[in-house]
């Protein structure tokens, strides 16, 4: 049964070592091990959350998964084909399959382009066939923006709307995988829930597989089936979200879960003054 799973994105034993700047003209360069052998597998239609704190290697992992950075050793495969950074056109086929939404929508949208040309760009660059204008209208509708917003510029929108534009651009080419690098952490709580619901709806409607990188365990819980906990470049724990979050096996996962602030419905445990 497990042999039948349609695997999209796969990483095998990824390692990434950064050489640090020389601190003395005589000394050698120190090394930083950002990833120390990480494996992952994303089946079609699956959703994987990658959680970890700053410095855990989340961003390095995403960059390598997207073919933006080269692993020191190990490999990334998409449907069995290796993903290695190279000339832009060599990964064009891969870009049609895997798209990304970044943390800060305003800095990831070109301020001098209209919404329409922002969403059209991947269609042109990736040589997608068909009526591009019609496709723009289609994805705008899918992310809950109105058709005549396409003539406006990014700064005219709220943070939540900007993130919707970024999502529209990401799904325009009809990818099979959507990667989100902290896609909601810059948003207010009430907007965050709307974007999360949107991502979940798109995943269901379009059969998208999701990779969600977040430091927010609640966000991963809300959106993902599986979770991978990254700590100092090692995947210390992985499994179905419900299981990992209710019965964490690794000490670090336990520590992380214990640290998440929870809404205490009873108010503070201690009463005020000399209690």
């Amino acid at each position: 049964m497990s042999m039948e799973v349609d695997l999209l994105l796969e990483a095998r034993n990824l390692r990434r070592v950064y050489k640090l700047p020389r601190t003395s003209i005589l000394g050698g360069r120190a090394e930083r091990h950002a990833l120390r052998g990480v494996d992952l597998a994303l089946p079609a239609g699956g959703s994987l959350g990658i959680v970890g704190e700053s410095g855990s290697g989340k961003t390095t992992l995403v960059r390598i998964l997207l073919g933006l950075d080269r692993a020191t050793s190990g490999s990334v495969l998409y449907r069995g084909r290796p993903i290695v950074p190279g000339r832009p056109h060599s990964l064009r086929w891969f870009r049609r399959e895997v798209q990304i939404v970044f943390q800060d929508p305003l800095s990831s949208l070109d301020p001098r382009q209209t919404v329409e040309s922002i969403i059209r760009e991947p269609l042109t660059c990736l040589q997608i066939e068909g009526d591009h204008h019609a496709r723009v209208l289609e994805v705008l509708d899918a992310v809950g923006l109105e058709a005549d917003m396409r003539r406006r510029y990014p700064y005219e929108f709220s943070g939540g709307q900007q993130q919707r534009i970024a999502i529209a651009r990401a799904i325009a080419a009809g990818p099979a995988v959507l990667v989100g690098d902290e896609p909601v952490s810059a948003l207010d709580v009430s907007v965050r829930i709307q974007i999360l619901d949107l991502l979940r709806r798109l995943a269901t409607d379009m059969g998208l597989a999701l990779v969600l990188v977040s430091h927010d365990l609640g966000v991963v819980r809300h959106l993902c089936d599986d979770v991978l906990v990254l700590h100092e470049g090692v995947a210390v724990e992985r499994g179905p979200v419900g299981e990992v979050f209710t019965r964490p096996q690794h000490d670090y996962t336990r520590q992380l879960l214990a640290a998440v602030p929870r809404i205490r419905t009873s108010g503070p445990a201690r009463t005020t003054r000399g209690g």
């Binding site: 709580v189 009430s190 929870r262 108010g267």
Partner: protein, 285 residues
């Protein structure tokens, strides 16, 4: 009588020339009233742009010069609004202190951490350089910085984010203020570090019997820390009351939507199979 009584606080800005609505007045805090009795802890929550930070800054007299601040801010029964910069400056640091969101921008990058903690002690309490540094070392230990004797000699960039925020707290506590204002002190920190810093604040507030005004966008952080809660939206306090009661039974629809959104993205929220896209309240965005 409460330690801090804020009544009908209104902060507005006149749009400068060149702005498309030049000359018009924009009110960012609109008739805000709340009070904090000594030893009590008020959580002030709201989304970005709701006016939380400017409220806090106006209370301690740090609103930008362009701002027009009206209403009343009484501390220990004395009106603080409209006092001279000199008086306000003495009041801050002595009786009220603030911890900011980003410790890297609120600390002086060119000054050793120990001197930054010692500065208010030397200025306010006229301590000698040596005595002030001794107290700085003690404070470093008290806020949980490792190896206080060495840490006081470090510069901010040599410390981690959590350690820098501990330094920020040490500076704020140096003169043992009666009221501590913390503006999103943990929002820039990792969850495990955030938990440590919140626990530290909770401990210190109880130990020093300080009143606390804690500003955040995260309900979960204040729900365990504060006994009072105020919810801000578009410059107004839409809800104010005892924490436990408000969380269980919010009266205002905006507060309810906010709490609902927070509960649904909580880490222990039930993994729901509910229909998608059912937002309880329609909000711009």
């Amino acid at each position: 009588m409460s330690l801090l009584e804020v009544t009908d606080l209104t902060v507005s800005f006149e749009r400068g020339p060149g702005h498309r609505s030049s000359g018009r007045v924009k009110t960012v805090v609109d008739g805000v009233s709340f009070e904090i009795a000594s030893g009590h802890r008020l959580g002030l929550i709201g989304e970005s742009g709701s006016g939380k930070t400017i409220t806090a800054l106006s209370v301690i007299g740090l609103a930008p010069d362009r701002a027009t601040v009206t209403g009343s801010v009484r501390f220990d029964g004395q009106e603080m609004l409209g006092r001279s910069d000199r008086e306000l400056s003495k009041w801050r640091g002595d009786r009220v202190a603030m911890v900011f969101q980003n410790p890297l921008t609120s600390l002086n990058p060119l000054m050793r951490v120990g001197n930054q903690i010692a500065e208010p002690l030397r200025q306010r309490q006229k301590m000698s350089r040596h005595d002030a540094l001794t107290v700085a070392v003690e404070l470093c230990g008290r806020v949980g910085l490792p190896d206080p004797r060495r840490t006081v000699r470090a510069y901010p960039h040599q410390l981690s984010g959590g350690q820098r925020q501990r330094v920020g707290i040490a500076i704020a506590l140096a003169c043992r203020p009666a009221l501590l204002i913390a503006d999103e002190p943990t929002s820039a920190l990792d969850v495990t570090v955030q938990a440590e810093v919140v626990a530290l604040l909770e401990e210190l507030v109880a130990e020093l019997d300080m009143a606390l005004l804690f500003i955040t966008h995260d309900l979960a952080v204040v729900s365990g820390l504060c006994d009072q809660l105020a919810v801000m939206r578009e410059g107004k306090i839409v809800e104010h009351g005892a924490m436990a009661q408000l969380i269980q039974d919010p009266g205002d629809p905006f507060t309810r939507a906010l709490f609902d959104a927070a509960a649904r993205t909580a880490v222990d929220a039930p993994v729901s199979g509910e229909p998608f896209g059912v937002s309880p309240v329609r909000m711009p965005g």
